[in-house]
Structure formats: C-alpha cells, structure tokens
Assembly symmetry: C2
Homo-oligomer: 112 residues x 2
DNA sequence: GTTTGATACCTCGTATAACATAGTATACAC
DNA sequence: GTGTATACTATGTTATACGAGGTATCAAAC
C-alpha cells in the first residue's frame, strides 16, 4: 500500500523487530516476508530496509551473521537479540497507546 | 504520553482534522481538547499545533476566522472545510490499513 | 556461450515533520 | 502593579523513509 510519506515514520523499526522476532531473515527476504505477512500492506524498498538493519544492529537490537552456505550469493541473516526483544515490547506498548488515542479521537469525530 | 520522537509523524494531521471535525476550536483550545478527548495520550505543545494549523489552512483543509468577541484576547477559530473532510476520510482509511498491517505483524511475532 | 532475470547487498541525497524554545500580547484577580 | 492564565508567532534542530543509482552472483533460456 502507498502511505502518505510520513505515516510510517516511527513504526518501521517496530514491525521490523517484530518480523525478526518471528523468524531470522536476511534483508532481501525481509522485504518479502513483511509484504506477505502484512497482507500486502507493507512494501518497503531496499533503500529503506538496509540502512534500517544497520542502524538496529548498531544499537544492539539485532545481530547479523554472514550465511556460510556456498553455491549462493552471500547473504547476511539477522536475528533479534534479547535487548531487541525488550525494545520491541516497549515499542509495542507505545503503539497500543497510539492506537487507543487515535481511536478515541477518530470515533469522537464520527458521531459529531 | 511521551512517544518515541518519530512515532506521531503522519498521524498528527489526521487527529487534528478529526478533532476539528468534531467541533471548531482555536489553537490553544485544541491542545486541551486533544488531551482531554484522547484520555491524556496526545499532549501537543504550541510549537506543534500552530505551525500545523497554518499548514492545514494553506492547503484548504481548515479555515480560520478571527473571533470578533470583545473583552477577550483575540483568537482564531478553525473549522474543517469540505475538502478537509475528504482528506480526513482518506487519512482515516490509511490509518486503518496501517493498524491492520501492524496487527498482523505484531500478532505473528507474539506466537512465534 | 551469452543474454536475461531473479537474487542480494550498498550508498547517497532529499524532503519534511514534530518539537523545544523563545518571544509577544491581552485580560483579570488580588 | 504584579502574577497568572490565555492566546498567538517564529525559528532551528534532528531524525527518518524513500527514491534512484550502483555492484555482484547464479540459474535458466535461447
């Protein structure tokens, strides 16, 4: 889906962590996974995914490892770390609150 | 509530339009209204509200009018326009999709 | 055997949004 | 005449999603 330019800001890190909490992925695969598991709603480009992965790794929330499998294009598989899981939990709480706030305001507007 | 810096991006315009769809407000009052009607979740500062109001007005989604009431500090009351309502409807749809996508990904992570 | 397409990663520039901060001005109570 | 709540204005900072470009590998098709 095509969102207004700014709507995804602040949420991408969260759903990326969540996706990796579900299963380890390499970058290219993440794009697919996110699209598939979100029913086509999240379609990130590579220019979004890779810088994001580097940042999350730099913060210690995920850890990448080069896949040793030969006979393939080399690829880096990322796993969520314990710190990443804590971060995810915190982000998820904030997300729930945001949804609650939005629901209150949007519902209020509906019957006004 | 205190959100991570980027989480609100793209949502503020939406809930501001929604609040004005509920009732006309002037800027200072909007800060209060949003806080009250969102159960304390949205606490915008004036440095956020006013520039936002100017932008939305420039785009024709809201219309401000100086309150003629004497014996008061002059204040500018904003109303949502028909174009603003259409914009709000479109934003609300995008928001629903975002929530749906996030739910799918976050739920997926939970039982993985 | 070389072209094509899918896979996989990387890098830079740009736009823009939320917020903090600081400032101005009015009304009213005491 | 001081203090407090109301009300609006203006500027600078920081972070981010994304587009657009690039490199490299492998399998299948022709």
């Amino acid at each position: 889906m095509r969102f207004d330019r700014e709507l995804l800001k602040g949420t991408t890190e969260t759903f990326l962590l969540a996706a990796l909490a579900g299963m380890p992925c390499h970058g290219y695969q993440l794009v697919e996974q996110l699209k598939r598991r979100s029913d086509g709603i999240f379609e990130l480009g590579e220019g979004t995914i890779y810088p994001l992965l580097y940042k999350l790794e730099a913060r210690g929330w995920i850890k990448g490892q080069w896949d040793a499998d030969t006979g393939r294009r080399r690829r880096r598989v990322y796993r969520i770390t314990p710190r990443g899981r804590r971060q995810l939990a915190q982000r998820a709480r904030q997300w729930e609150e945001l949804v609650r706030g939005m629901t209150l305001i949007l519902k209020g507007a509906a019957h006004a």
